[in-house]
């Protein structure tokens, strides 16, 4: 079972290299398993870092935990689904209909605050971390030893109301 988890880490969670489960993925896996550390923040920062690199056009591939990003998105843009306690289950059962690239582009261009799910049924926590000490940022450490800052202004709508 550990081997399956390890391969999932390399293929799905940290797909850094195309054909191999690389050493970084293995490293995270071993630490998470042996020292019972939680990799959630690393996975999140990896997603941000990938989006950043992609926007800077330094990387043309989106190599991060895409399913997590996708599940998050699906629960936001779909119709209100009641009774789902697990976001992944929601994405599996109520995933969006396939559309073309242009259709999605138009969809997002016309997306306004009335069409979005602000409080999906699976969300447990009503509070969230949006500042650290005196700073209006949350610093998080990523996989490639890159420090990245999740910058949120308290007055912005953070997806909660």
């Amino acid at each position: 079972m550990d081997v399956i988890a390890l391969v999932v880490y390399g293929v799905l969670v940290f797909p850094n290299q195309e054909d191999v489960v690389d050493y970084e993925a293995i490293g995270v896996f071993v630490v998470v398993t042996t020292r019972a550390e939680n990799p959630v923040s690393t996975i999140l920062v990896d997603t941000y870092a990938t989006l950043d690199l992609w926007h800077e056009r330094r990387k043309r591939k989106m190599a991060c935990c895409l399913p997590a990003l996708y599940v998050w998105l699906v629960s936001r843009i779909g119709e209100r689904a009641v009774g789902f306690k697990c976001p992944v289950e929601l994405a599996l059962k109520r995933g969006p209909e396939p559309r073309g690239g242009d259709e999605w582009k138009q969809f997002f261009a016309g997306l306004n605050e009335t069409k979005i799910q602000w409080q999906p049924s699976w969300k447990l926590r009503s509070c969230l971390i949006y500042y650290c000490g005196k700073y209006p940022n949350v610093p998080l450490m990523g996989l490639n030893a890159a420090s990245i800052t999740t910058r949120c202004r308290p007055n912005d709508n953070l997806g909660i109301r």
């Binding site: 969670v13 923040s41 996975i43 997306l111 699976w122 969230l128 990523g142 912005d156």
Partner: protein
């Protein structure tokens, strides 16, 4: 029982996206996860339960079929300095709390993963993988993803 799985090659999809301000092209790597998915489905409910407890909902995420075009379109709305997605009249942020639930790995009472510049020793790895020590001693960067072809489920 040995599993014989159909392994497809990896597919890279080129999809073009653009918006008014800038034209960006994106290439999203989409793995063919069919083989690994089948393997996950062969685990019984109890095994899946144990797996989820240790590693979160990875098996569930594995089954999610990502529509690459949606992610591509979403990525166009990403605002790098603000670290959020900007739309017509609102912004969305990926939060730690949501990711915690998506991955089903509760943060409470657990330390965040800290990246250390240290490599995992080969014997440790061999222990997790139940032998194959000689294979690993070649000093490679990793091992092939097709490793799951060699996984046995009792």
């Amino acid at each position: 029982m040995e599993l014989e799985l159909n392994m497809g090659s990896e597919i890279e999809r080129d999809s073009e996206s653009s918006n008014l301000k800038k034209k960006l092209y994106i290439r999203v790597l989409e793995n063919n996860l069919t083989g690994l998915r089948e393997l996950g489905q062969r685990l019984g409910p109890i095994q899946r339960g144990i797996f989820r407890k240790s590693y979160g909902n990875l098996l569930g995420l594995l089954e999610v079929k990502v529509q690459v075009l949606v992610v591509t379109a979403l990525a166009q709305h990403y605002d790098p300095p603000m670290k959020c997605f900007t739309f017509l009249d609102f912004q969305l942020v990926l939060t730690l709390e949501e990711h915690e639930q998506i991955l089903d790995l509760p943060l409470e009472g657990r330390v965040h993963y800290k990246h250390l510049e240290q490599h995992v020793s080969i014997p440790t790895l061999a222990g997790i993988m139940k032998a194959h020590l000689r294979e690993l001693e070649r000093g490679v960067k990793g091992f092939p993803r097709s490793i799951w072809r060699h996984i046995y489920i009792n």
